[in-house]
Amino acid sequence: MTTNQNDIVRQLATVDLFARCTRRDLRIVARHGDRIEFRQGTDLVRQGDRGDAFFLLLEGTAEIIREGTLVGRLDPGAWFGELALLDPAERAATVTAASDGVVLALSARMFKVLLRELPALSAAMLGALARRVREAGGVVGDLSFLSS
């Protein structure tokens, strides 16, 4: 394994999504990921594009922009791009680098292979998606309460 991959494994070990993965799992993820360095202002994904990769922010920060409006901020350990792969559709938002940084990118194919082959990763992914649905449901519930 290269030093690069060792670094990636160390970084992955600190990410919630991979908390239940073994070190061997992390090595597999590191092997199949592309480590991409980016500069501030780079679009990491662009709203409306076809989704063909999953991204994990290893270093730096990014902003989520939907229809020109800032809707969120991503810090190291955050991940994005999975929805367009799990349910093929256009990217729902643009993610732009707020600083220089590094992402680990998995192609659509490897993302699906790793979900299939690494149960700890797929369980964590399902859990995270469920949390997002719940949070989104809470927002909807709050909004309906306010409007009544």
């Binding site: 290269t2 061997r24 597999i28 199949h32 991409i36 360095e37 780079t42 679009d43 063909d52 194919r109």
Partner: protein
């Protein structure tokens, strides 16, 4: 990582890569162009075989051996033993005897005194022809040089005799010359046909030119490698045929794969640079996997002790490695430079043949699988009667000198035989009359023995000729023993003659046997003894490489079984034609009732490698579709739809190249070309289009099964295609692939 590095280099330094390729063409042409002058016409005998050692023994101790160059001298006027003709004959024999490289000459004028009631065996029935038998020194290449020198001498005899040379050295020389001339003709036939095919497949001259550029670099680079290798070891001139055919064929296959993927990615809306990167990450890796499997198949030829077979391994591995390297380095650079003019892959309109075929087969897999398997097994039935032998003059076209000379020997002479079984008995002194006579009696008592020549003269059925000058060859120095020439009724490569050699060898452990039949016996034995190891190497390496690629246990076994089935059918067809003689007339071949022992194993390794080529092409797309969709049935249809047209095109173009090779007048080259063309077509249309999808459909999820630890090992260490991820705001070559 290596592929990404290559891609980056191709993108960033494409001008440098193209300039390097441009400069490489003349440099390689100068370095590799004269390769054939460095190659050997021989390599058909195993250096350590008993027959080879016995030949050397005869050469060194007795300064003779069975003749390897025979001249049929036809008198332009009168009987060859007439006074004028005898004088001219003696003059000719004197000139031959003093020529460089000639160590022994036997002729009707110098054979010595024969009894009045015994006809001179070296004179024809009609008396107008004489046989002059020469033993040429050295290996096949030395003999070829001597034969060419002697050609000048033959030309000077035009007034008295018409000379027709034949014999092993002459056959070897003429076969090599014919093969070289045929190679040029094959190239001239293949080039325009291939170009038309490429234009049809690539739909544009720029794209069609890419495989030709790859082929040119590949063939010239391989010639250079072979020339360098020839300075270290024996490399057969026949390896050039494989170099040209595989060089052109694989260049087409690999370029087609890469360019088709590039166009597909362009069709999906990607920039030229992004499309190149994805094409190299996917199809480029498939090319490397494929090259690995083809090379490993050819590597198995190295287990055989014959320089002839090993030469095909050197040439094959070199040509495959170079074709793959040129494809993943030069083609991406060409695509970056000219890719914007190559167009996109149009989305298929309607259902194509391969999609329809995949749907048919996956809907009713059992009937398709059973029908095609039965067809292939039926085609393979003649293979059960395979009778391996060695080539003789009948490997040449009917009009060839060596063939005409040998035909004259067969039809116009009585008692003449230049393919004796030479039996060396180092413990019998030529002066020990009792022991010599006893051995003569033992040899004559063996089934099929017609005559025994020894220091005592000529003995046989109803024949006893006292010693002549000729008989002195059976003597050497004190303590060197003597030797016998055993003449059989049977053809030298017949099974009866081979049994006779075995019987003679069993007479005494000190006996050394050589001669044409003994060489055949040793060759067949050596091939049969090493074939299981070669097949085992091919099988194991195939299983390992396909496991590394797919992570499956079943798919590699399936590939192995289907390849064996495909090759069985091909070999069956070849036995039917080349051994049993069906279609011999239209194909212009003369059958001997046997198939050259080297060709099946040679074809096995080459055809197996090419079959794996297509297996890898299709399996890569099926696996990609399966990884993305998780749907086994859909993955088969999708994988075949995406790769089928490509495999068809590649196979048809490859078959054109091999069929061009098959236009050769030399039977073994014809056998090789026709056999490989057949193997490629059977593989593409019956195996890949029908049996492979049927099997994958029937096996369902079991296709991809492997125990947990192996699955993890595959994920960790396996060979994977990787589509590089691109960031949307990076679109220039310098930044697009700034990945680590």
């Amino acid at each position: 990582m290596m592929m990404r590095g290559l891609t980056r280099a191709a993108l960033r330094r494409h001008r440098l890569v193209l300039a390097g390729a441009f400069v490489a063409v003349p440099v390689l042409a100068l370095a590799g162009g004269p390769v054939r002058h460095s190659l050997s016409v021989g390599g058909f005998v195993a250096p350590q075989a008993e027959s080879t050692r016995a030949f050397a023994h005869l050469d060194e101790v007795f300064a003779t051996a069975a003749p390897n160059q025979v001249i049929v001298a036809t008198a332009t006027q009168g009987d060859v033993l007439d006074g004028t003709n005898t004088a001219a004959g003696l003059q000719l024999v004197g000139a031959l005897g003093t020529a460089d490289g000639v160590i022994d000459v036997v002729s009707p004028w110098t054979i010595g005194e024969l009894p009045d009631d015994v006809a001179n065996p070296l004179v024809s029935h009609e008396g107008d022809k004489a046989v002059i038998a020469l033993r040429l020194a050295g290996d096949e290449d030395d003999q070829r040089a001597t034969v060419e020198e002697l050609g000048q001498l033959y030309d000077d005899q035009g007034e008295t005799f018409t000379l027709t040379p034949t014999g092993a050295a002459e056959v070897s020389r003429e076969a090599a010359e014919q093969a070289e001339a045929d190679l040029l003709r094959a190239e001239l036939i293949a080039a325009p046909l291939t170009l038309v095919g490429l234009l049809l497949v690539f739909r544009g001259w720029r794209a069609a030119a890419i495989p030709l550029v790859v082929a040119l670099l590949t063939v010239l680079a391989t010639f250079t490698v072979l020339r360098a290798l020839a300075s270290l070891t024996t490399v057969s001139v026949f390896a050039l045929n494989l170099t040209t055919a595989l060089g052109l064929g694989l260049s087409i296959d690999y370029s087609l794969l890469l360019v088709a993927r590039f166009r597909e990615e362009r069709g999906a809306g990607r920039s030229v640079e992004a499309a190149v990167a994805r094409a190299v990450g996917t199809a480029g890796r498939t090319v490397v996997f494929s090259a690995l499997t083809v090379s490993l198949s050819l590597l198995a030829l190295l287990v055989f002790p014959f320089p002839y077979l090993r030469s095909f391994a050197y040439a094959g591995i070199a040509v495959v490695a170079v074709a793959a390297a040129v494809t993943v380095v030069v083609v991406p650079a060409l695509l970056v430079r000219y890719g914007h003019r190559l167009g996109h892959e149009r989305p298929p309109t309607g259902i194509g043949f391969w999609t329809a075929q995949a749907q048919r087969v996956t809907r009713h897999p059992w009937p398709w699988a059973l029908a095609v398997t039965a067809l292939l097994l039926a085609a393979g039935l003649p293979f059960r009667t395979l009778a391996p032998g060695r080539i003789d003059d009948r490997v040449l076209p009917a009009g060839a000198d060596a063939r005409r000379g040998a035909d004259a020997l067969r039809s116009d002479f009585y008692l003449v035989n230049f393919t004796p079984i030479s039996v060396i008995t180092p413990w019998i002194s030529p002066t020990d009359d009792e022991a010599v006579s006893a051995m003569e009696v033992v040899l004559l008592s063996l089934p099929g023995v017609h005559r025994v020549d020894s220091v005592h003269g000529f003995s046989g059925t109803g024949l006893s000729i006292p010693p002549t000058a000729y008989s002195e060859r059976f003597r050497a120095g004190p303590g060197d023993g003597t030797w016998f020439n055993v003449i059989s009724w049977h053809e030298p490569d017949s099974s009866e003659a081979r049994q006779l050699v075995e019987r003679i060898r069993h007479l005494d452990s000190r006996i050394e046997v050589t001669g044409t039949t003994a060489v055949v016996v040793d060759s067949v034995d050596a091939v049969a003894r090493r074939a299981p190891l070669a097949i085992g190497i091919v099988a194991v390496t195939t299983l390992l490489v396909l496991f590394a690629m797919t992570g499956s246990l079943l798919l590699p076994l399936k590939a192995l079984a289907l390849n064996m089935l495909s090759l069985t059918a091909t070999f069956g067809a070849l036995v039917w034609v080349f051994q049993q003689g069906h279609l011999a007339g239209p194909l212009g071949i003369t059958t001997t009732g046997q198939l050259d022992v080297f060709t099946p194993i040679l074809m096995f390794c080459v055809a197996f490698g090419l079959s794996m080529d297509y297996e890898v092409f299709i399996l890569a797309r099926i696996q990609e579709a399966r990884d993305l969709t998780g749907d086994d049935k859909q993955a088969v249809v999708c994988g075949l739809a995406r790769s089928g047209r490509l495999v068809t095109a590649a196979a048809v173009l490859m078959a054109i190249v091999f069929l061009s090779i098959a236009t050769s007048g030399v039977a073994i080259v014809k056998l090789f070309g026709l056999g490989l063309a057949l193997a490629v077509l059977i593989d593409a249309f019956l195996i890949r289009a029908t049996l492979m999808p049927a099997f994958i459909r029937l096996a369902g999820r079991a296709n991809w099964w492997a125990p947990g630890p192996l699955r993890r090992a595959h994920l960790r260490y396996g060979l994977w295609e990787t589509e590089p991820v691109e960031l949307p705001s990076r679109s220039t070559p310098d930044t697009e692939l700034d990945t680590a």
